[in-house]
């Protein structure tokens, strides 16, 4: 492996990076000052240099000076503090790679090996050619072509099956008793249970429980998803923006931003909250305070859920047992309604609703609160 110079002001950094590069099989020489680094580069002709930026060391000027003396030397910068603008500035002065903290052998290996094979950007006016595909891609393409060639008969049969499935309503008993809301994240249905302060991710295919998360610090009542964030509301009205990771890591808290929440929904630009007690829909700007931009009267009887289907808002009225459609520009008006005859017997009360891109789902709580909750996939509505 190649000799690599490490230019770091602090001995601890030199030692750490030296150990990591040594583990990767490189011979390492440390330098605390630029003069030492230049001397080392002149004598030992290293394959590259690793420069630490931060904690009193200006990586930008070190990179510039080192490259002035050795223009073809690949220089990799290691940031002490993560700063994307700083990383770009370092690359502009000639660093071929920038490693973000915390430094790991994997990141160092990727950056150093890439830095040692440094080339420039290819420029072309012509549109990008597709990346080379794997053999698997070609096999799948042929398989798809053959599948398509099976003919109209199988397509017709599939269409008949689909129509039958669309007209069917499915029900499942759930292993919870006190649901508070329902949401869809693009793959899974998320059931919120207030009693055990839990989130259950359910498979839409068979409602199998895929994931369970308990929140010990708050009582969740509603949730909504954007492409990369999860929004939840607690019983005290606190809205929390979370990462969509396994721990549902909280990112931002908005205390009491959505009081008496019957549901929240994100329309791609604004966060909407349905206040069940005040019977109003609030439109929030996603800023530091989650400011309320507008408040609209809600004309239902008992608010139980809110969702966005990609075009309109829908609210769930538990008393009338129906879903009501609202246009985004005039959400105070009900422009359509979908009755929920599955709740006509009165044994269950709908408490949450979700839209999976094709159908509505609702979750109902047993009226006496003793039986298991029921999940309903409703028949497909003409759009």
């Amino acid at each position: 492996m190649a000799a690599i110079g490490v230019l770091a002001k602090e001995a601890a950094d030199r030692e750490l990076l030296g150990l990591m590069l040594g583990e990767l099989g490189h011979r390492v020489e440390g330098a605390a000052r630029l003069e030492e680094a230049v001397e080392f580069a002149r004598e030992r002709k290293p394959a590259g240099f690793l420069i630490v930026d931060g904690a009193g060391a200006d990586g930008e000027s070190l990179t510039r000076e080192l490259l002035r003396a050795f223009p073809l030397l690949p220089v990799v910068a290691a940031l002490k503090v993560r700063d994307a603008n700083r990383a770009v500035a370092l690359m502009r002065v000639g660093a071929c790679e920038v490693v973000a903290p915390p430094w790991t052998p994997e990141d160092l290996k990727a950056s150093v090996s890439k830095g040692l094979r440094f080339q420039g950007t290819a420029l072309s006016v012509a549109a990008a050619a597709p990346l080379s595909r794997s053999p698997l891609w070609y096999v799948l393409s042929v398989a798809l072509f053959l599948a398509a060639g099976l003919g109209a008969a199988s397509l017709k049969r599939a269409e008949r099956n689909r129509a039958a499935a669309a007209a069917r309503t499915d029900r499942w008993e759930l292993p919870v008793r006190h649901p508070a809301g329902l949401a869809f994240d693009g793959k899974s249905l998320w059931l919120i249970e207030w009693f055990t302060q839990s989130f259950y991710a359910l498979s839409p295919a068979d409602t199998a429980v895929q994931l369970v998360r308990h929140l010990t610090a708050e009582t969740p009542v509603a949730a909504a998803f954007t492409s990369e964030a999860m929004w939840t509301v607690s019983a005290d009205g606190t809205v929390i923006r979370r990462m969509r990771d396994d721990k549902m890591t909280p990112l931002t808290r908005y205390p009491r931003a959505a009081p008496n929440s019957a549901g929240i929904a994100f329309d791609g630009l604004y966060l909407w909250a349905l206040d069940g007690r005040a019977r109003v829909l609030r439109k929030h700007l996603v800023d530091r305070e989650l400011s309320v931009l507008a408040t609209y009267p809600w004309r239902g009887l008992k608010a139980a859920g809110l969702l966005f289907d990609g075009a309109s808002l829908w609210t769930l009225d538990a008393a009338d047992r129906r879903l009501m459609r609202h246009a985004l520009d005039r959400p105070q008006d009900v422009i359509a309604a979908v009755p929920l005859p599955e709740y006509a017997e009165g044994a269950y009360v709908p408490v949450g609703a979700a839209w999976d891109g094709a159908r509505f789902w609702t979750v109902g709580e047993a009226k006496d609160g003793k039986g298991p909750a029921r999940l309903v996939r409703h028949k497909e509505e003409p759009r």
């Binding site: 690359m91 990008a128 990369e228």
Partner: protein, 102 residues
């Protein structure tokens, strides 16, 4: 034509993505899209804004990840498609100017 250096790019994500700004290097730039090498874990369908300089002109192009995979070094290589036609035309003009001077 190949530039003497890899063009560095700043990666910004929409607020709803809850992701930190990141950075990468443009392996290839065309009027239709770009190929980016980055440590950020980009996935197909991700939306981001790419900021970089080309021929002295600052570019800020919204893009969507069309295809992404890990390279042999463990970094992410993403094929991006520009999604803003106005910015895309501006980039094309900059590329034509740059290549005609080469």
């Amino acid at each position: 034509m190949r530039a003497p250096l890899l063009v560095p790019a700043l990666l910004r994500f929409p607020g709803s993505a809850a992701r930190q700004d990141s950075w990468g290097r443009l392996l290839k730039v065309t009027a239709g899209g770009a190929e980016l090498s980055t440590a950020a874990r980009l996935a197909k369908g991700d939306v981001l804004q790419l900021q970089f300089e080309l021929g002295g002109e600052r570019m800020a192009l919204p893009a969507r990840v069309h295809h992404a995979y890990d390279d042999d070094d463990g970094q992410r290589v993403a094929e991006l498609r520009w999604s803003d036609m106005v910015e895309r035309r501006r980039l094309a003009r900059a590329l034509v100017g740059l290549l005609s001077r080469a």
